[in-house]
Symmetry: C2
Subunit: 200 residues, 2 copies
DNA sequence: GCGTAATCTAATCAACT
DNA sequence: AGTTGATTAGCCCATTACGC
DNA sequence: GCGTAATCTAATCAACA
DNA sequence: TGTTGATTAGCCCATTACGC
């Protein structure tokens, strides 16, 4: 993948979070918890985080990856937890009804102001920038990361596709492309507007 | 004349500009100018405005209405301005190559800030509000009016359609409606965003 | 070149006669 | 009710043409 | 109810063994 | 090179659900 060949990176520090290394003991605990319930709620994740001395967001990521990669061999044993298998399984009637999730975070105006400014500057902040922002506004870094994810999704900000000389499959979905073009146009308008507002 | 000495309406001010009444002499001059050239440039309109003691924007409106309503009998005479040899109008009349237009107005950030605030408050300001804004930022009222027109067009702000229970013609253009729906949604997002930015 | 002010048409609104 | 100045939209977002 | 934080999946990237 | 944590998009814009 082509990193953006932006002329001057200056302060980009687009590094990612350093890879977490779990010990055998930690993994044992995680796997056990996973087998009991692959969809732990916030309380459970928090408890696990405390138990193995890491951050709750790492637990979250670990469970996501585990679900994606080891969902095949589940049912090791139905476990006595007869009914709590709450993945969106076969039975439609079995609604999710997951465990309780993390309480919704509320952002103040000034916090949003800071985040928005950073977002306009770079919608893809690296770990350092995120930590910086988190400290600056007094919000856990994991929330900052989630906020950026949501906002990118919300405003359809996407990393620059390289030209992709292979135009073989470009033929279909011309309408889709046209629609995207329109959206992109509006995005540009929006950002121009924002810049002006902030500058004013 | 056009200058309204109307009693102050305090704050309602969704009123429109008071109707201008041209005298016979004024009309004679205007009609003569119109017959010579139904598309006067800024200089000509300014000269006329001075001559009949009114504002250039009223001249503009008068010519627009006249063109729309008396276009039948034009070309009374081709005018001696034979130099219309720009010849871009290879096929049709001399539609192109109008006279020089008004110089483009530049707005400062603070002026834009004021206008934007007013726009968010009400995209359809009446004459009083426009005059107020004009005085506040030191810009002719006619420019303020044009700015609002352009911005409404730009952001697709439309006056609320009354329910229009007659859904007879709703059948066609379903795609169009869908598209509009999407646009409206984005507009709402934008304005929410703006409000937040300003509040922050 | 792009952003956007200026300009235009067709239609409608609305004040005045 | 007709005339005419004022206002508005402009339907994958009116068109044109300048200033920066 | 709406706005939007939280959550999820599938895919990909990338560090490390 | 495989494993696995980290990151990302989510294609008329992922889904869910909770706070205000």
């Amino acid at each position: 993948m082509a990193q953006d060949n932006s002329p001057n990176k200056t302060i980009t520090m687009n590094q990612r979070r350093s890879r977490t290394k779990f010990t055998e003991d930690q993994l044992k605990i995680l796997i056990k918890a996973f087998d009991q319930n692959p969809y732990p709620g916030y309380a459970t994740k928090q408890r696990l985080a405390l138990e193995i001395n890491t951050d709750e967001s790492r637990i979250q990521i670990w469970f996501q990856n585990r679900r994606a990669r080891h969902q095949c061999q589940k049912k090791s044993e139905p476990d006595e937890d007869l009914e709590s298998s709450q993945d969106q399984d076969h039975s439609e009637e079995e609604i999710q009804s997951r465990e309780e999730r993390r309480c919704r975070t509320s952002y103040t105006s000034s916090q949003l102001h800071t985040l928005i400014g950073a977002f306009m500057n770079n919608p893809y902040p690296g770990i350092d920038t995120r930590e910086q922002l988190a400290k600056e506004i007094g919000i856990p870094e994991s929330r900052v990361q989630i906020w950026f994810q949501n906002w990118r999704s919300r405003f359809h900000v996407q990393r620059k596709r390289e030209p992709d000389d292979q135009d073989s499959e470009q033929r279909q979905d011309q309408e889709q492309d046209l629609w995207d073009e329109r959206v992109q146009e509006r995005e540009r308008e929006m950002f121009t507007f924002f810049a002006k507002l902030i500058g004013a």
